[in-house]
């Protein structure tokens, strides 16, 4: 596990998949991610098996929030997932992606905290030099979270995505090891 202040990361389990399928079929969640078609449980299971055969650094992590029950006991609730991909070992560089699927946790700073924690993990444990991401221009909530976590705008991929009948720009943001 990787612990932050209010959140932690743990490996994704098979039991998490039904929740993921619910999230990535939610049109509001879908607007911010790379998926554009309805997604089945069978496809998700297939994704999970492939994910397990990838190098450990590139496996997805579940984002959990610490909660206290009435007896003041700690419990953890999964609100999303994140991970590195396009991992380029020679160039010490990786792309990262994140999804907060549980909408009741939007706008509480959990995304920003998760981004921050993952970036730290990338620089301090995985020894990356550069972490970058792509975000749709129509997703200001995510852009703000990335800016707060220290990401710098470095490019605009013009008309690189197509949604709802029109082409959209993809923004590229990055953070370097020295900038954390």
């Amino acid at each position: 596990m990787i612990y932050g202040e209010r959140i932690r990361f743990r490996g994704v389990e098979k039991d998490d998949l039904p929740t993921f399928v619910t999230w990535i079929n939610d049109p509001e969640v879908l607007e911010g991610i790379g998926i554009y078609l309805p997604y089945s449980m069978a496809e998700e299971q297939d994704w999970f098996d492939k994910m397990l055969s990838r190098p450990a650094e590139e496996r997805n992590l579940a984002i959990e929030v610490k909660e206290l029950n009435p007896q003041e006991e700690e419990s953890w609730k999964m609100i999303g997932s994140c991970g590195f991909f396009n991992y380029d070992r020679r160039n010490d560089c990786a792309e990262f992606g994140i999804m907060i699927g549980d909408k009741t946790y939007w706008n509480h700073g959990f995304g920003t905290e998760a981004v921050h924690l993952l970036v730290q993990h990338g620089f301090h444990t995985l020894n990356l030099n550069r972490i970058y991401l792509r975000v749709l221009e129509t997703n200001p909530r995510a852009i703000r979270a990335y800016e707060k976590a220290g990401f710098i705008h470095e490019g605009r991929q013009r008309q690189a995505e197509f949604r709802n009948g029109k082409y959209l720009d993809l923004l590229v943001m990055s953070i370097l090891r020295g900038e954390i």
Binding site: Y36, C93, N129, G155, Q157, Q159, A160, E161, Y167, V172
Partner: protein
Amino acid sequence: MIYGDRIRLRAIEKADLPSFVVWLNDPDVKQGLLLHSPLSQAEEDGWYERMLKRPIDEHVMAIDVRQPASAGHEDSWEMIGSLAFNDIDWRVRSAEMGIVIGAKNYWNRGFGTEAVQLLVQYGFTTLNLNRIFLHVFETNPRAVRAYEKAGFKLEGRERQAQFQDGRFIDVLRMSKLREDL
């Protein structure tokens, strides 16, 4: 074949591979490419077989330059490099392009620019693409100038995205849209 003013684009043949191996092992040529280890003929043969299995619109094409005609002879052509689209995304109508001019005696004479223009024209008017993009190292001003002349616009700078000669360098990203034609 796709014909331009001074050049044509044709499908590559197995017989072209030895020239590619020479070019791709030339340090001056390699400086501008993603390739970083020495490349053998055997590896190049393997690459060729894999390339043939890729979608036809992503097959690599040779850039041939028309040679001065001599009396009574047909046109003759000399191969100076190669180019291709890769990662074509048909839903978004976007593709990346890559090019190498391996014959260094043809550098700085506008052949790269002409080849890029020809490929872009083909991409928009035959493949029905909407967006063509490319990556180029910040250390390769000759290429950047050629892409600018062909109408590409700088759309991003991927900071320290490539490790070359002991240091991280930036990778520039340029694109051309169909509406820019």
